[in-house]
């Protein structure tokens, strides 16, 4: 475990070096947050929906605060795969899947905490109907946090699957473009999943993407009652298991057909 923890720590520290990128990211996500909130307010002014506007703005702000957890890629890791520097990692006495999983987790965690915390403070300070509401209840907050942990594990697993595909295609853009689109749509980042037609929601909420941010947000804002939590968490745990298993199989298969680029 020491090696995995050590690479996790190292990657955390590296993320701290990109302070300029952090500030840029915060400003960008704040801008997007305000634009989206204004958009939904305009929509509600025309035709109010069943879901109160406060729930929608809370949804938007939580999505924006943890955006970096959802969509971020480790450029160094991609570079290793492209250039063949991955050779060095392959001759270490570690399981390569978990070694990279630790790296990805560190990057996603530190990146989103550094951006998320200031963003959440900012969103709390906005007037009612624009900003972030308090959690529906104390159990809602705790269950939401627990769901966020499983969501996080799923996100890292998805990222590691896209890394595994990059080992085959060498260029991450295709697979990331495709997975990114699915991710943005079905995770609720583009449009809160709560605003999709009810019949759609039945399907969408069991997809892996809904487990990442949507499930924690709904628990936080009370759209899912705390009694429903065991079912929600069970779905998340199943997906965590499936995505990690799929990633491990992919990496194992890669090992057999590996070619090292660049001589």
């Amino acid at each position: 475990m020491r090696g995995y923890f050590s690479v996790f720590r190292m990657r955390l520290r590296m993320e701290l070096q990109y302070r300029g990128a952090m500030i840029g990211g915060i400003l960008c996500q704040m801008f997007f947050g305000i634009v989206l909130v204004a958009l939904y307010r305009a929509l509600y002014a025309g035709k109010p929906q069943a879901l109160p506007i406060e729930a929608v703005t809370t949804y938007v702000w939580l999505q924006q605060a943890f955006f970096r957890m959802l969509v971020s890629t480790d450029p160094d890791l991609l570079d290793k795969i492209r250039s063949g520097n991955i050779s060095y990692d392959l001759c270490r006495p570690v399981n390569i899947y978990w070694f990279y999983y630790s790296r990805i987790a560190a990057q996603k965690l530190m990146g989103s905490l550094m951006r998320g915390i200031p963003m959440l403070v900012f969103a709390f300070l906005l007037p009612k109907g624009w900003g972030l509401s308090l959690p529906a209840s104390a159990p809602g907050l705790l269950l939401g946090l627990l769901a966020l942990i499983f969501g996080f594990l799923c996100m890292c697993a998805l990222e590691n699957i896209s890394m595994g595909f990059t080992m085959r295609t060498l260029d991450p853009r295709g697979i990331q473009g495709m997975l990114g689109l699915l991710m943005m749509t079905f995770s609720g980042n583009l449009l809160p999943l709560t605003l999709f037609p009810d019949s759609w929601q039945k399907v969408i909420t069991v997809l892996p993407y809904a487990q990442l941010m949507d499930a924690p947000i709904r628990l936080y804002s009370g759209i899912y009652a705390p009694q429903e939590a065991p079912r929600i968490l069970a779905v998340q745990i199943v997906w965590t298991f499936v995505l990690i298993t799929a990633g491990i199989c992919l990496w194992n298969a890669n090992k057999k057909r590996l070619i090292v680029q660049g001589g």
Partner: protein
């Protein structure tokens, strides 16, 4: 049984080429990087592995370091099959890829080393001792806290070497470790490798294009070409086989009547200076010296073996590589 036993190792790669105009599909080429290579290496040996670009040297190293799985053949290193028991196996080996980096770009090298300490689970006391020793031998004392990106190539290579040896590997693979280094760094690196080999008995397998590396370090050399082993033995024996021509420059104290040399010697005169090339195999050096001395009073003389790079080029040519 030897420490490294390689038997009939084969590996091929598929190379897809750009589609030709007017054709529907891309062409595929299968490149046989290794066509059944066999050798064995004893513990504590320092072996040079040479061959032109694309001969399969790096492929061999990658297979023996557990990264690639071969298509066929067997390899046992210290009783283990590298690609089958990868995680257990790689604890005992170290690898340096001359054109790649294992240390983290943005962080001080000491931090990369402590990550390696955790990855290889080196006990702290053992780590401190080994790091102290390597720091001293590789002259890293002043740069331990410098981020990798601020180091020169020579410093970086020494740091890479330190990283690969922290866990005291029994076997060290070096894939072109002196690529791009200046003369001072090269010599320092060679001295270090000799020291590591004699002090700790580390078996070293070195691929290089720098024949000086081989001449300075390796008691044994293997030549690889087109995925096959073409020579395996001592460097002097290899050179003898291909070392056909030598150059002699002689300066006479006075004008000399022209000398007639046997066939196969080409001579050219500039005033009192003679420059000639001969082949020791055809004309023994002692006999040549006698001829030269009879011709007149010699004031200066130099004898040069042919440049080692030219020799190897001639050898590759002869072996049709």
């Amino acid at each position: 049984m030897s420490y490294i036993e390689v038997n009939g190792l084969r590996k091929s790669f598929v190379v897809r080429k750009k589609r030709e105009k007017g054709k529907l599909f891309r062409e595929k080429d299968t490149v046989e990087a290794l066509k059944g290579v066999s050798f064995s290496v004893e513990k504590g040996e320092l072996v040079g592995y040479i061959g032109p670009n694309g001969a399969g040297k790096s492929t061999t190293v990658k297979i023996l370091s557990g990264i690639l799985t071969p298509d066929g053949g067997e390899a046992l290193v210290g009783g283990r099959v590298p690609w089958r028991e990868r995680r257990e196996y790689v604890k005992h080996i170290g690898v340096v890829f001359g054109q790649r980096s294992q240390l983290w770009w943005d962080v001080p090298i000491i931090d990369s080393f402590s990550l390696l300490k955790d990855i290889y689970r080196i006990p702290s006391a053992e780590y401190e001792k080994r790091l102290g020793e390597l720091k001293e031998a590789l002259g890293l004392n002043d740069i331990m806290r410098t981020p990798l990106r601020l180091l020169s190539l020579g410093q970086r290579m020494r740091a890479e070497l330190c990283g690969s040896l922290l866990h005291r590997p029994e076997l060290l693979f070096l894939d072109e470790p002196t690529i791009g280094l200046d003369a001072v760094s090269k010599i320092a690196l060679r001295d270090f490798l000799k020291w590591e080999n004699s002090e700790h008995g580390t078996t070293i397998m070195l691929t290089t294009h720098d024949m000086e590396d081989i001449a300075a370090l390796c008691s044994r050399v293997m030549v690889l070409g087109h995925g096959q082993k073409l020579f395996d033995g001592r460097l002097p024996d290899l050179l003898e086989k291909f070392d056909t021509v030598r150059t002699v420059n002689v300066k006479y104290g006075a004008a000399v009547p022209s000398v007639s040399f046997p066939e196969g010697v080409s001579a050219s005169w500039t005033d009192n200076e003679l420059s000639l090339t001969y082949s020791p195999a055809k004309l023994p050096t002692a006999q040549l010296l006698l001829l030269l001395q009879e011709a007149g009073p010699i004031s200066e003389m130099t004898l040069q073996p042919e440049n080692i790079d030219h020799l190897i080029a001639a050898m590759y040519k002869e072996m049709d590589l």
